[in-house]
């Protein structure tokens, strides 16, 4: 078929133009700038001198950066694996229910995910409040001494991880449910005819067929939690943020509280590279898994 390719190009330009303009301004340009200023001693606003790799070399001997890295890793460990497993368990339970009843139960699990982080923060800050929180009444009743959860160095990150799982599980549950729905019923019927036990059915059918979704949920969670900031910042209000330092918080502190744009950018680049590496690994892994299945 004959196409008037000149008009087509012009139309394409008009259609792509608005997005491209925003994309170059708010995405490509800041990304390039982030790399550039990470090699300078620039403050937050304003120019700086070229310092080469100094900002990166400093990170090597920076105890706070090391703490941020460790805490981020610790947080990721405490959210990603338990979060994925809990979401899978819930999805398995919910998938047994039918119709309207299923919609209601799913909504109960999903609602937290739809809420802003600050609402999640206020609700849990209240629930776990040392003096009046309902969770402390439960601890009293179980004769366990009360814990000032968000003021405690030991309990802070595990508690924030728990709240984060509660907040974000809805998303993973949804993906698992979509995955469970795509497993043909006939396979289960065949298993039932074989008198296969519940555990065998899960191990031999559900788990392997669900694997692509499991790895998807796992990596989405991994990337999301590497970028942890909001909850750590909010629960640290009035506490000791330096004890609970995580990577994005460190970028924020260096840039916005200590006015060291260049050094903050070096931390940001580290995070950037970390997330891109994980994403690429995930992509390769999925491709590998797909090729193996064929």
């Amino acid at each position: 078929m004959l196409r008037n390719s000149r008009t087509e190009r012009l139309v394409a330009l008009v259609l792509v133009g608005p997005f491209l303009a925003i994309y170059l301004l708010a995405f490509v340009y800041p990304t390039v700038q982030m790399f550039r200023i990470s090699f300078t001693d620039a403050p937050l606003i304003g120019a700086g001198q070229w310092v080469g790799l100094e900002n990166y070399l400093r990170l090597d001997n920076d105890p706070m950066f090391r703490r941020a890295l460790w805490n981020t890793a610790y947080f990721v460990l405490m959210t990603v694996i338990p979060g994925t497993l809990i979401a899978l368990l819930i999805a398995l339970g919910v998938s047994r229910l039918k119709g309207r009843f299923q919609a209601i139960v799913l909504a109960l699990f999903f609602l937290p995910y739809i809420l802003p982080v600050s609402v999640v923060y206020l609700i849990w800050d209240w629930t776990l409040n040392f003096q009046f929180g309902i969770a402390m009444h439960v601890l009293d009743w179980l004769a366990i001494p009360r814990v000032p959860v968000f003021k405690s160095r030991v309990w802070f990150l595990p508690a924030v991880a728990g709240v984060t799982i509660w907040w974000t599980a809805g998303f993973s549950i949804l993906l698992f449910l979509a995955g469970l729905r795509s497993i043909p019923a006939e396979i289960y019927e065949a298993a039932a005819l074989d008198n296969s036990t519940r555990w065998t059915t899960f191990r031999r059918i559900t788990w392997p067929l669900l694997w692509p979704i499991t790895s998807l949920v796992f990596t989405i969670q991994l990337i999301l939690q590497l970028k942890i900031f909001d909850q750590v910042y909010l629960f640290s209000i009035g506490g000791r943020p330096n004890d609970n330092m995580v990577l994005v918080y460190y970028v924020f502190q260096k840039a916005f509280q200590q006015n060291q744009g260049g050094r903050a950018a070096a931390v940001a680049v580290t995070l950037f590279v970390l997330v891109v590496v994980v994403s690429v690994l995930q992509f390769q892994l999925l491709r590998f898994a797909e090729r193996r299945r064929r």
Binding site: V11, V16, M34, A103, I123, I223, V280
Partner: protein, 280 residues
């Protein structure tokens, strides 16, 4: 399957269902507790025992929150920013997704790969340079400044492109034969076909923007320009230790998105699974 096995199956099945329901109730309990606490008068909130229903339910905390803080202004800011981001993002993404899917132009493949690649980039690593950019444009403490970095949602273009790809090519070719204008084709033929996706994506884009915290928190320094998600955490002093008032502010902040979800449950879940790359 013999009778014994069937009975065993049903017993365990029933147990699992019961456990799921109990778990769901416990899961949602903190939400219930937050709402109930916001309806209690000050002295009832801090009672040293568990009171599952307020003795004297009151809206006093809500009235206090509305009159003693700038929550009204924060609401306006949140609505303006969320609507602005949603309209601009959906519109530009749809046009771009259509062009990549249906038109042939130089740089098309490169653009597509650029969009796919940006999917991997953590936006929160860009906060420093977003701040510098927005400050240089003089947009700190403005709606436009809060909106600008939030306009990047590559996933919406990806979903649109995949949907336009599914439309048979004959549609476009027939329309071109009829001398329909390019824009006529997009708005009269393609857009109505994707109406469901557009609504679904708009709702989640609104929810995402409403819920955004990090960037609105950084780009606003004046209390009256805050969005509601930032505002309710930044002015604790105004509340003192009045937990109930703080919780009523939280309920007010969460209500629009919770209602959006409850009204459009199917659309929201559809859009969220789509945005994760799964066909729902």
């Amino acid at each position: 399957m013999n009778v014994m096995a069937a009975q065993r199956w049903n017993f365990w099945g029933g147990t699992i269902t019961a456990l799921t329901v109990v778990w769901a109730i416990l899961w949602a309990f903190p939400l219930y507790w937050g709402v109930i606490s916001s309806l209690k008068p000050d002295d009832e909130v801090v009672r040293p025992y568990i009171e599952l229903w307020p003795e004297t339910p009151t809206l006093e905390n809500y009235i206090d929150a509305l009159t003693t803080t700038q929550i009204g202004l924060w609401y306006i800011n949140s609505v303006a920013v969320a609507v602005g981001v949603t309209v601009i993002t959906i519109f530009t993404s749809m046009l771009c997704g259509y062009a990549i899917s249906q038109l042939r132009f130089p740089g098309r493949i490169a653009l597509w790969w650029l969009i796919l690649a940006s999917f991997m980039v953590p936006i929160s690593a860009l906060i420093i340079n977003h701040f510098v950019l927005v400050a240089n444009l003089g947009l700190i403490n403005s709606w436009a400044g809060i909106m600008l970095p939030q306009l990047i949602h590559p996933v919406i273009i990806i979903v649109y492109k995949q949907f336009f790809d599914q439309v048979p090519k004959d549609f476009r070719e027939a329309a071109v034969m009829d001398n329909a204008s390019e824009f006529g084709i997009l708005f009269k033929i393609y857009m109505p076909m994707n109406w469901g996706v557009t609504t679904a994506l708009s709702i989640v884009c609104f929810i995402w923007t409403w819920n955004a915290f990090l960037w609105p928190f950084l780009s606003v320094t004046r209390t009256e320009m805050m969005t509601i998600t930032v505002g309710i955490t930044q002015v604790n002093d105004a509340f003192g230790v009045y937990y109930a008032r703080q919780l009523s502010a939280a309920v007010l902040a969460g209500l629009p998105v919770a209602l959006a979800y409850l009204f459009f449950q199917r659309r929201v879940t559809e859009a969220i699974t789509l945005s994760a790359g799964i066909k729902g």
